[in-house]
Structures are given as C-alpha cells and as structure tokens.
Symmetry: C2
Subunit: 200 residues, 2 copies
C-alpha cells in the first residue's frame, strides 16, 4: 500500500486540506478585524486557519489578495451577464441586469461582505486596491457591451455608471447589515441615477 | 555686502530658480517619454532641468508625483465650481458646469496633457494613481454637492457619473491631439450619458 506522502507526491501537491481557501479567508478577516490589516502576518493567518504558510501561498499571492480573491469570479459573472442580456436590452439595462444577477453571490456569504467592507474602509492601501478592482470590472463590462455592438463612448459610460450604481447599492447594503435584498438596492440606486441624469 | 549663500541661508532655502517647478515637470515628462517612467531617476530629471535633486524634492515627494502635481488645484477649482453653481442647478448640472469651467486649465498647457496621458497609459502603477486621483475628485465634488443640500446617494451618483463623463471627454480630447474644445467634448459626453441612462 502506498503511503500518503507518495500519493501526494504523485499528485504534485502537499496534503489536501478540506476547504483550505475558505478557512484562510475566514482566519484572515478575523485577524484583520482584531489586529488591523497592517499588523497581521501571513504566518498568523495560516496558524489561525490551522494550515501552513506554504498552503497559504498556494492560494494567495499575499495577505492583501485574500480580500480580493473573488474579483475574478465576479468579473466572469458580470461579463457573462452582459453577454447574455436580451438582444433588445439597452446598454445600461444589460449592465444593471448583470449586476442584479450577481447579487446572490454576495448575499450567500453571510456576514463576510460587511466585515470585509469594514476592513477596507480602515485602510487607504486597501481602498486603492478596491478602486482598481472596480475600474477593472467597469472596463470588462464595457468590453462585453462593445462585443454586443454598443459603440464607444456609450459602452464605457454605461459600464462606469453601472459601477457607480453598484458601489452606492453595496455601501447601503453593508451599512444596513446586509439585511435588505441587494438586487433591490441596485434597482433603487439605478433609479436614483436616472433621476439625477434626467434633471439639469 | 552679504554673499548670496548668506542670504539664502537666512531665507532657509537654497538659490531661487525661475520657474523651477515648470522646468522640472517639463524635464520629467521628456525623460518619461524618451526612457520610460521606470527607467528615469530623480537625479536625471533634476540634471535635465539644470537644477539639483534638493530643489526637486522641495517641489515633489517623488518622480511619480510630478505627474499629479496639478491634482490639488484641479480639485479646488471643481469644488468651487460646484459650490458657486446657480441655486437652481440640478446636481449633475452643477457638476457638469464645474467640469466645463475647468477645461481651460488643460487647454492652456499646450501639448503637456496629451504627452502626460501617453506616459500614464504605458504604466500600470501610474494608471492606478490616476484612478485614485479621479476617485478623490469625485468624492470632493460629492462633498460639495452635499454642502448644497443634495442628499445621498444622489450626490455620489452625480459626482461619479460626472467623473465618468470627464474621463471619456478627456480621452477623446487627448486622442484628437487636444485640437477640439474640451468643454464641448464634456457637453457631448454628458449628452451621451443622458442618452445611455434614459434607455433601458
């Protein structure tokens, strides 16, 4: 019978840990809240999760990226949402539909988004990283609109307005302990934008 | 008669150089274009401008900040523009008016904005710094709207939509060799945003 170490050698990885990624995310967030982002080390995160530093670096480039691990999946979801919007949908309608469809992704994570938001609000470097994430999401959605035949600058304006709508809705959602339906807040925020742009 | 060095000692600064700031900005931009941003040192910028490194650091914290030196003045101008908009102006009208009023600030700098834009487009770190600058401008304008009695989230949505409008207009302006009237491009971009948000 082969030993475990031989099997893991053949798999090209070290011992499998159930839900290592989720445990590291949870441990990191706890420590960032307890001690502050700056004061927390990767070694402490790994220890709190009951894992090794080596395991940590299999999932994340550094402690900051733990907070941004979901950005890739979110971007894919939003781009797909825009691409699959009804052919008759106007640019902002396609964006809004994609954002609403992504709302459950946040809601299903319980307390995590609200706590993550608090950590980011307390640190300038993290706020900058969050801005960059949002700008990338806007650029990706603008690209998805162009692929639907929406010309510039309508594509970029719709995507950036959509991200502003999402940001406002997300802030309200986390400020209200994530109790309201996020998709509903996105629709309300979109209506506010329409009211704001209609008046001059 | 006191020597120059005694006078400068008493003034607590070294020899006064006519338009040192402008010369450093011009030298930095030339070197960033010739050699790339990463490859340029502060020593080289100072030398090209015919000044000392010490003089450089009296004006700028580092080479990156040379490209963002105008952000403070722009922010003041935009905030004042929003504050001084007619009492009857709607939120986005106040923002758009402030942006249009700031347009000559760029136009009077000749080739500089277009060349600066090219340097920023070639470097990810500078693009991130530019994003942060724009986010700060949006936050400052949202604050100016709240001071006029505009509630949230209308204030933030109008300010962020305004920054998206400005970004699109500015990109078109620099792409077209800064020949078109920037204020006119801002109005066109605003009309595009209105068209995009009106349809769903």
């Amino acid at each position: 019978m082969m030993s475990v170490s031989v099997i893991t050698y053949h798999l090209g990885m070290s011992r499998w840990e159930p839900n290592a990624r989720g445990r590291l995310e949870q441990a990191a967030l706890e420590l960032f809240i307890e001690r502050g982002f700056e004061q927390t080390t990767v070694a402490e995160i790994a220890q709190r999760a009951g894992l090794t530093e080596r395991t940590f670096f299999r999932y994340f480039a550094d402690k900051r990226e733990v907070l941004f691990a979901g950005a890739g999946a979110l971007q894919e979801l939003l781009v797909r949402g825009v691409a699959q919007a009804p052919a008759a949908a106007a640019p902002l309608g396609a964006i809004a539909g994609a954002l609403e469809a992504a709302a459950p992704l946040f809601a299903e994570r319980g307390d995590y988004p609200r706590r993550r938001q608090a950590v980011i609000a307390a640190n300038a470097e993290l706020q900058e990283r969050e801005l960059i994430k949002l700008a990338r999401l806007a650029a990706a959605m603008a690209g998805a609109l162009r692929a639907r035949g929406v010309p510039e600058p309508a594509a970029s304006l719709a995507a950036e307005a959509g991200i502003a709508v999402f940001r406002v809705a997300f802030e309200r959602w986390t400020a209200g302990d994530c109790l309201t339906d996020l998709a509903k807040l996105i629709r309300e925020s979109l209506d506010e934008l329409k009211a704001v742009t209609a008046g001059r």
